[in-house]
């Protein structure tokens, strides 16, 4: 049920925002939206100011769903205060570090136990740079329209995460050989007790992967409240749905987790997208859980329709994938007939945003710039949307027009 404490907190935060000049905020949000998102959004969206955050596009405030404008993606690391915010359920407690605990148990755990934040910090620490991208990023560009949070480009970010390998935590729990999945719950929950709590599960091989960590630091600082303080799961290469915020329960399982958020939610039609690693225990005849991020890229130096001077214009952006690494970013200025390779920038690791840049010769009039990323195993973006009913995995090659 609704907790008055949480209401007070959110009322305070929203109250602060309400005192800003609302018209200016609405106008600035309209210019920040991704071209092609439903036009109903421009009618109400403002640049919302959550505590500890720079202004973000406020698609929804209860539960909080805020995306980053394009301009926040001009560096391969997304600063914490510019990182997007996504929640399914609106009862979000402010978790206290001093009393915080993660319970590790389940029928697959021989020795259940509890971990405090201090316990976590005493374990061997690892760092990994990884993209956290919402499964439904770019859903708002889906044609035909699909219901949901109508994200543009900005439901993603890349950070350096520091924490403890999940497999090290699981080792203390004595994982039985019959274990097939490990499920996760966070401190946030539903407003009504009949609404299914947000619980997510991964196959045991993914839980044991070296890259899967419980993170308590993000870009060298504690996690922002709205990104999962005090600790969250980080599943590099997989979409954000598995990255449980405010992690309080690790459930080691010998049976598939059967909750709403594993099925029917977060599903893709079987066979529509290439998958290296399947999540067999959750598959059925027609659907499979969304897992790996598909290869993708974004032009971040210019918005569609940007005015430039004729001559050399450096266009730059980011590319990323599910952890194979980016091999090539190619750019076309003739609508996709011919392509040339962009220069790749700093390599922060195979799960990170890879910056790229390309010098375009802008003619007087209009120049279109199209971008396509190809990863190390040869997967490429698509020229036409692979439609699915939830609007996942939109990696259609982006095309913008520059005006000189």
């Amino acid at each position: 049920m609704i907790s008055r404490r949480h209401l007070l907190q959110s009322a305070g935060a929203a109250g602060a925002a309400a005192l800003l000049p609302s018209l200016a905020r609405a106008q600035s949000a309209a210019t920040m939206l991704t071209p092609g998102v439903p036009n109903g959004i421009a009618g109400y969206a403002v640049m919302g100011k959550l505590p500890g955050k720079q202004p973000l596009i406020q698609l929804a405030d209860r539960p909080p769903n805020y995306e980053a404008p394009l301009e926040y993606f001009r560096t391969p690391i997304t600063p914490n205060d510019k990182f997007f915010v996504r929640y399914h359920l609106a009862d979000i407690p402010e978790v206290k570090a001093e009393t915080y605990k993660i319970k590790v148990d389940g029928d697959g755990a021989s020795t259940p136990f509890e971990l405090t934040l201090d316990d976590l910090k005493k374990m061997p620490a690892v760092e990994i740079v990884a993209v956290n991208q919402c499964s439904g990023n770019r859903r708002g560009l889906s044609t035909p329209h699909v219901p949901g949070v109508e994200w543009g480009y900005g439901a993603m970010g890349c950070a350096k995460w520091k924490g403890v390998r999940l497999k090290d935590v699981l080792a203390k729990a004595g994982v039985k050989k019959e274990t097939i999945e490990v499920a996760f719950n966070g401190a946030d929950g539903p407003v009504f007790d009949k609404t299914p709590d947000f619980i997510k599960s991964v196959p045991v091989w993914r839980a044991m992967d070296e890259s899967t960590i419980i993170a308590y630091e993000m870009n060298g600082e504690q996690l922002p409240h709205f990104n999962g303080f005090p600790a969250r799961l980080v599943v590099p290469g997989w979409t954000g749905t598995y990255w449980m915020k405010h992690l309080i329960h690790v459930d080691v399982r010998t049976t598939p987790q059967g909750g709403f958020w594993m099925k029917p939610a977060y599903r893709l039609p079987v066979g529509e997208f290439p998958l290296r690693d399947r999540f067999i225990s959750q598959e059925d005849a027609t659907s499979t859980p969304i897992t790996e991020i598909v290869v993708n890229s974004l032009i971040t130096s210019h918005r569609d329709g940007a005015k430039v001077k004729p001559g050399k214009v450096t266009v730059s952006g980011l590319a990323w994938d599910g952890g194979y690494g980016i091999r090539t970013v190619e750019v076309s200025t003739d609508g996709g007939k011919t392509w040339a390779s962009a220069n790749l920038g700093e390599d922060l690791g195979k799960y990170a945003f890879r910056p790229w840049s390309f010098d375009v010769h802008a003619r007087r009039g209009k120049t279109t710039v199209m971008v396509n990323a190809i990863n190390v195993i040869g997967q490429s973006q698509v020229s036409k949307l692979l439609f699915n009913g939830a609007g996942y995995h939109n990696n259609v090659m982006q095309s913008i027009t520059l005006s000189a």
């Binding site: 009322a11 309400a18 109903g40 698609l59 929804a60 209860r62 035909p144 009504f192």
Partner: protein, 94 residues
């Protein structure tokens, strides 16, 4: 400034309108708006309605309302559900 913010929040709570300071979403006036505000607005912002319009057909709005009741356990009775679907289809439907 801070005192004023607190005063605003307290007033809202005293008046029993806990969400008064939230995102200002003005839905179109019409029959059923009160049911939409009372039922849908209990769990989430009403922004989801303009966010997904005008693209949803009557069938799609019906599916959304049904999902809220069946999958999310929203305590909405059949009569209210019908009124809500009618309002959404008429005002925010394709």
């Amino acid at each position: 400034m801070r005192t004023m913010m607190l005063a605003v929040a307290s007033l809202a709570l005293l008046a029993g309108t806990a969400f008064a300071d939230e995102q200002a979403i003005k839905l179109k006036p019409g029959p059923g708006l009160d049911k939409v505000e009372g039922n849908c607005g209990a769990c989430h912002t009403l922004a989801y309605i303009p966010m997904n319009s005008v693209y949803l057909s009557r069938a799609a709005w019906t599916a959304e309302v049904t999902k809220m009741i069946k999958a999310f356990g929203a305590p909405i009775d059949d009569a209210d559900a019908k009124t809500i679907i009618e309002y959404l289809s008429k005002n925010y439907g394709s």
